[in-house]
């Protein structure tokens, strides 16, 4: 039995019978999941099913109540070097400029203020954000803010990137651009990505693997491998079939979580 070390495939993340409760109320239960290194995994599920909780445990922000979480074969016992986190909002510190935000990360690695700023300017210039280096986040568009946040995350050369609905607040067009940008960055870096989204198209465009979760308490119900070349063509019948499966799953979950059977009959959803 090599369960604790996960020898063999050496997954980037491994949840080993993980449960997590907040104040004795279970948030996720008995999660058993392995994420292949360098892969792109998308988590989908109804609100409150524990997607953010899974990311938080992978980042070492919260310990599991039961079971073990491994990142690169090491049990996660706190924030790990090489793991980056990106939220939908509140990523960039409003009281620092774009360059200041990136430099903040670099300074944590022991770089001097000067060197950190120099490197930050170089990295921002590299992705065409040089002109915005001395702007504060409030002066940037939503898409630019997320790009600066991505630049900052990748400044520390992470092996694992955890993203919690990162593009949820962006408009449709900006979101498409950001997805392309993320895919390019991910491919160049070789990092493992685990991303949470509510947007089924986003899942189909990005994922190698889609992990479907159901709520109360949160469990993994299905894992779907998406085998199609990128850039993805959503008209592809295989992708369309996956999309229908995802929709059916989310609908069933919404039904379970939000509406009673009488209400559903009235709405005609079940017919």
């Amino acid at each position: 039995m090599t369960a604790r070390t996960g020898a063999g495939i050496r997954p980037a993340i491994r949840f080993d019978h993980v449960s997590k409760a907040f104040d004795n109320r279970p948030a996720v239960e008995d999660i058993d999941l392995a994420v292949a290194p360098g892969s792109f995994t998308v988590l989908i599920g109804p609100s409150g099913c524990g997607k953010s909780t899974l990311l938080g445990m992978s980042a070492g922000l919260e310990p599991p109540t039961e079971g073990y979480v491994f990142v690169h074969d090491c049990e996660v016992k706190g924030p790990t070097e090489g793991t980056a986190l990106l939220f939908q909002q509140h990523n960039l510190f409003p009281w620092m400029t774009a360059a200041g935000n990136v430099a903040f990360a670099l300074e944590n690695t022991g770089l001097s203020r000067r060197d950190a700023r120099g490197e930050a300017l170089r990295l921002l210039g590299h992705v065409g954000l040089g002109a915005f280096a001395d702007k504060v986040p409030a002066e940037l568009s939503g898409g630019m803010r997320q790009r600066v946040a991505l630049v900052r995350a990748f400044a520390l050369k992470p092996r694992l990137l955890l993203m919690d609905e990162p593009f949820g607040a962006l408009d449709h067009q900006t979101r498409r651009m950001m997805q392309a940008y993320l895919l390019a960055t991910w491919r160049d870096s070789g990092a493992t990505v685990m991303l949470v989204t509510h947007d089924l198209t986003e899942a189909l465009v990005l994922a190698d693997r889609i992990v479907l979760m159901s709520g109360s308490p949160g469990r993994v119900t299905e894992v779907i491998d998406v085998i199609a070349p990128r850039p993805r063509d959503l008209a592809d019948p295989a992708l369309a079939a996956i999309c229908r499966r995802l929709e059916a799953h989310l609908e069933a979950e919404a039904i379970r979580g939000e509406f009673g059977p009488d209400e559903l009959a009235r709405l005609g959803v079940l017919s």
């Binding site: 980056a84 939220f87 509140h90 990523n91 009281w95 903040f104 944590n108 690695t109």
Partner: protein, 282 residues
């Protein structure tokens, strides 16, 4: 027809706005400020001249203002003599020290409460109970412990603001979005660095607002203290005016309180804008 009219009105409005005929806002404010006070002072002058107002209780501005500007607002004799300027300096010094100590300790205690759960359980009830106590209630206590000088006044200022500032500091720290701390943590920042680079700046808008309100509270508290036994400063000057039945002195003191209170608030606003530099850039 009605909708047509509305459409026409909508079209003309932006054109009217193109002409920058309005006075700059700051100038308008100053204008109304001067007008309001000019009217009040004018009516008052008129009232005393016509005998509607008793000029021994409410000396007319034409007497009070020259009296104020001539530096005649003194009390006492010889070494005990204290002028208006000295009184103002003494009072402002007390506020500066009391407010700095109160702010510093409130932020420190607030940080401890936020960082350590036992500290929250232990300190929170105390600061919550201290917060609503009227600063005047501390005066006898302050005088009994440290006498009737500066320390008592500073103590009163401190007690007036410390509780509410600590409670507000905790609220300000708690209101910093959790994402910031999580992001900083995964970016490899240590706890101390998170405090200085994330939680403190994140709470700064709230802390600055509370400091501005506390300045107001401190200003009230120190004057009350000086009127109730601490025998120096601006409040004391007014009490002396009352005892000598020198209403010009009382009036001068009141005008000074109003003017300085107003200026202090403006200065705080300026400091607030400077400190929160990133909020101006939008």
């Amino acid at each position: 027809m009605a909708s047509l009219d509305l459409g026409a009105a909508k079209e003309t409005r932006p054109m009217r706005r193109d002409k920058p005929r309005r006075l700059p806002r700051a100038l308008t404010t100053v204008f109304w400020f001067a007008l309001a006070w000019g009217l009040l002072i004018g009516l008052w002058e008129l009232g005393t001249a016509q005998g509607f107002l008793n000029d021994r209780i409410l000396p007319p501005p034409s007497e009070t203002i020259p009296f104020l500007l001539s530096g005649g607002a003194n009390v006492g004799f010889g070494v005990q003599k204290a002028g208006l300027i000295d009184a103002v300096v003494v009072t402002l010094g007390r506020i500066a020290i009391g407010l700095s100590c109160g702010l510093g300790l409130a932020v420190l205690v607030g940080a401890l409460i936020v960082e350590f759960v036992p500290a929250r359980r232990l300190f929170m009830p105390i600061v919550q109970t201290i917060a609503p106590i009227s600063p005047v209630a501390w005066i006898p206590f302050a005088i009994a412990i440290v006498g009737i000088g500066d320390p008592a006044a500073i103590f009163v200022v401190f007690m007036a603001i410390f509780g509410s500032m600590a409670v507000a500091a905790v609220a300000a720290f708690d209101a910093v979005p959790g994402e910031y701390v999580k992001v900083a943590t995964t970016l490899g920042a240590g706890r101390l660095r998170i405090w200085f680079r994330v939680l403190l700046p994140g709470a700064l808008p709230g802390i600055m607002t509370m400091t501005r309100m506390s300045l107001f509270g401190a200003w009230m508290a120190v004057l009350a203290g000086e009127m109730a036994g601490i025998n120096s400063g601006l409040g004391y000057l007014i009490m002396m005016g009352q005892q000598m039945y020198n209403m010009k002195l009382v009036m001068s003191g009141i005008i000074t309180i109003g003017a300085i209170g107003f200026l202090l608030d403006r200065v705080m606003l300026l400091i607030q804008h400077r400190v929160l530099w990133w909020e101006r850039r939008t």
